[in-house]
Symmetry: C2
Subunit: 169 residues, 2 copies
């Protein structure tokens, strides 16, 4: 059985070593602190909350845009070498579990990545080489979450089937 | 509704700021690299796989001891300031999702912490101050996973109930 990591690499087309090239340098330091990450997440969610594709926009309908922005940039800052802002406020990233309420399908991953590429393109506080590294990380992570989403739903179906086959207590 | 983080703090008795005091310094550097983490995880799983409590030992019965040790120390090294060994091999930690197959109850968390405290006590390559920081992180994380376990099982019960109430397709 393929691992989450293997599925992420195959589906995204990004090798693990490229996905985690973000760790070769400290991006938080080289980009100069919080602001580039705040810029990126603001650009990203401004696009997402205004998406013409209703099916994608509706995934975020129960979250406030400001909170979505903060959750994202705090995670990025923590993951890319900065202070652990996300964990101090919300605990471990627990990426698969926190995405559990959302339909993280391949189509949703592709739409997410489409907006993220355009958000990166318009973030002038991030240099071109860092953009490539970050986009590889995002692609791999998006499909890691698609794989995680499939894993939890399959496990759930098995549990439901098992529960349904038991006599009522 | 209490967040995962709030539950973790209340149930473990460890404030978030104490749990993430591991980030105030780079423990990987101050402890001098991989070896203290390898020592700790080896001591820990040697105890676990030999636990007199069969209910707890059986949780780990489907995993090889050597793999359990490596998974753990690679995560600890990555989380405590060292190279991202875990992600390079297995992807994001995704702590809650990866613990999903296991019954992470309060009793299991307490037994895990009992063995971890004794494993720390016998790891001479870790200084006393670092041991306190690490144990606070472990306590908080153990109950974060208990909270995550309850969250996924409750969500699952709702989905199963919903599925059972639908007419068969």
């Amino acid at each position: 059985m393929q691992s989450l990591q293997e599925k992420a690499s195959e589906w995204s087309g990004v090798a693990t070593s490229d996905a985690f090239a973000i760790d070769e340098t400290n991006l938080f330091q080289s980009l100069g602190g919080n602001q580039p990450f705040i810029d990126l997440s603001t650009n990203f969610y401004t696009r997402v909350y205004d998406d013409e594709e209703e099916w994608f926009r509706s995934i975020f309908a129960n979250s406030k845009k400001e909170e979505a922005i903060q959750n994202q940039y705090e995670f990025f800052i923590q993951r890319m070498g900065g202070p652990p802002l996300f964990s101090q406020r919300r605990g471990h990233p627990a990426l698969i579990a926190r995405h559990r309420p959302f339909p993280v399908t391949r189509e949703a991953a592709e739409r997410w990545l489409h907006h993220m590429q355009l958000a990166l393109d318009t973030t002038s506080t991030i240099d071109p080489d860092s953009k490539i590294k970050m986009m590889n990380f995002f692609k791999h992570t998006a499909y890691f979450l698609v794989a995680g989403n499939e894993m939890t739903r399959q496990a759930q179906a098995v549990v439901c089937k098992h529960a349904a086959s038991k006599p009522p207590s």
